[in-house]
């Protein structure tokens, strides 16, 4: 936009050429897609999709299986997000602690989780841990996702914490603040703000990874999609719809985080720790 409102004539011209290129790119993509679908010879039946989303009976709207699946996905994602932040924060603080056993514990957790597939972890929690802990499929899924994403969140948070200027610790300590107060009031607010973008990326990964819980018979968005496809053979329409719903969710999350970043920008990142 700025390129149009401001700048000299040659700059404006360059901007127009740039936008022209973009339109050309979109045009080619649409043309390729149209070509592909025609060549496929697939009988598109989009009109059969809406009932799976919602149905309206005498003015009463009821959610279809896809929207019910979405609700489950949202629930699991939200709970796991809280869980992963808890695990992540704990592991990050343990890794930074001066105690050897605390560091070893955190290290063991991180290596174990990050070096095995999420799918296996979900199976492990569901088939091995859940009978011991006496928890159901939903809780198992939430626990597995929390543990998995928590390991990544831990490294992100740790990076944010160690990136702060040493002077912040020293100032807090010289005022007599203990470790807890220093973390809570001085270190974490700054560290979290710095790593908000990668943390948001992790949250988006979590939403997408939650599709794997369909393997332990949880009727999330993916599982509902699978079931409908098995019954109706509307493979393309349903999977496109499911993908679009995931896209809306993750885009929504990105917007949310961007808003949060702006709101937190009362004091910008620069100048942290004395020298600009």
């Amino acid at each position: 936009m700025n390129a149009f409102s401001r700048g000299s004539a040659p700059l404006r011209k360059a901007a127009w050429i740039d936008y022209g290129r973009f339109l050309l790119l979109v045009g080619v993509a649409v043309w390729l897609l149209a070509l592909g679908t025609r060549g496929l010879g697939y009988p598109w039946q989009w009109y059969r999709v809406p009932p799976f989303l919602f149905s309206a009976d005498n003015g009463i709207w009821t959610a279809g299986p896809l929207l019910r699946g979405l609700a489950v996905t949202l629930q699991i994602s939200l709970l796991s997000l809280v869980g992963s932040l808890l695990f992540g924060l704990t592991a990050a603080l343990l890794r930074l602690s001066s105690s050897f056993s605390a560091r070893a514990l955190a290290r063991g957790y991180l290596e174990l989780i990050r070096n095995t597939p999420l799918l296996i972890q979900i199976f492990f929690v569901y088939f091995v841990l859940s009978p011991v802990l006496d928890i159901g499929a939903f809780a198992s899924a939430t626990l597995a996702l929390s543990l998995f994403e928590g390991a990544y969140a831990a490294e992100i948070l740790r990076a944010g914490i160690v990136s702060l200027h040493r002077g912040q610790w020293e100032a807090a300590h010289s005022l007599g603040l203990g470790t807890f107060d220093t973390y809570r009031h001085v270190i974490l607010p700054q560290a979290v703000r710095r790593v908000l973008p990668p943390l948001a990326g992790q949250a988006i990964s979590l939403v997408k990874d939650s599709a794997l819980v369909s393997t332990i018979a949880i009727y999330d968005l993916t599982m509902q999609g699978q079931k409908i496809v098995a019954e109706t053979f509307l493979a393309f329409e349903i999977w496109f719809t499911v993908a679009a719903i995931y896209l809306v969710m993750t885009f929504g999350l990105s917007f949310l985080v961007r808003g949060l970043e702006k709101r937190m920008n009362g004091a910008p990142l620069r100048g942290a720790g004395g020298f600009g």
Partner: protein
């Protein structure tokens, strides 16, 4: 000087950094109540390390530090007690950038001194008036000039109502035109009877506000003495050379 009158007693402090640099070499110094001691010396002589050992920001290898009768040892409680009584001002200000000026000064009053918000706010406004920066109370540190930030940092340390103030090259990071305003605040504090240990290169301030000058090099005291005597008739050859270089 009686033992009671000495508020800082640092005895035989030794510290070697991992790289092998000797920062303190059996360094002994005591400071009386209300005394202003100015520590000078070439860079790398251990001045800052000495200050940082006084409130436990740096660990000594050997030696003892006792502040107002409390030993700075491995007991966490003693360490926290000492840090409450010892305020510190840093070269790089180290204000908390995500908090306003007011919040910076309130924090430790509420969290450490357990004051109510209202009490803390009152103290804060009083201190901001003292360092003449009350109109910036709701600004963030990055909106302030260096001199203003350092004055806020002094107010933040004073908010704990400390018995001792340590100044670690408080004006070294400032633009020349801002040094005066910070030194002014420090002079006022000295005149009010605050016990101060000041590491600085500002010889004007040392002469004017210092009761005693300590010249150190390579972690040891080369010469110390009352301000007038020290500048008027330095005894050590090394001191004379150093003073000639910087004056």
């Amino acid at each position: 000087m009686t033992a009671q009158a000495r508020i800082i007693e640092a005895t035989e402090l030794s510290k070697t950094f991992p790289g092998g640099v000797v920062a303190l070499d059996r360094f002994t110094l005591s400071v009386g109540r209300g005394e202003v001691v100015v520590v000078i010396g070439p860079s790398g002589s251990g001045k800052s390390t000495f200050l940082r050992c006084l409130n436990g920001l740096e660990e000594v290898d050997r030696g003892t530090v006792v502040i107002d009768g409390i030993p700075l040892d491995h007991h966490r409680k003693n360490r926290l007690l000492i840090r409450r009584e010892v305020g510190m001002v840093f070269q790089s200000f180290n204000l908390f950038p995500h908090m306003t000026v007011r919040e910076n000064i309130d924090l430790a009053q509420v969290r450490v001194r357990r004051k109510s918000r209202a009490e803390a706010a009152e103290t804060t406004m009083g201190l901001l008036r003292k360092v003449d920066i009350q109109e910036k109370a709701d600004r963030y540190p990055h909106e302030l000039s260096g001199g203003q930030q350092q004055r806020v940092a002094i107010a933040r340390a004073l908010a704990m109502n400390p018995k001792v103030m340590l100044f670690d090259e408080a004006t070294s990071a400032l633009d020349p035109e801002m040094i005066g305003e910070v030194l002014e605040v420090m002079r006022t504090l000295a005149a009010e009877g605050m016990t101060m240990v000041v590491v600085t290169h500002e010889m004007g301030f040392a002469r004017e506000a210092g009761d005693r000058i300590v010249f150190m090099e390579a972690g040891r005291i080369v010469e110390e003495g009352e301000t007038e005597r020290f500048f008027g008739s330095p005894r050590q050859e090394r001191t004379k050379v150093f003073l000639r270089q910087i004056l």
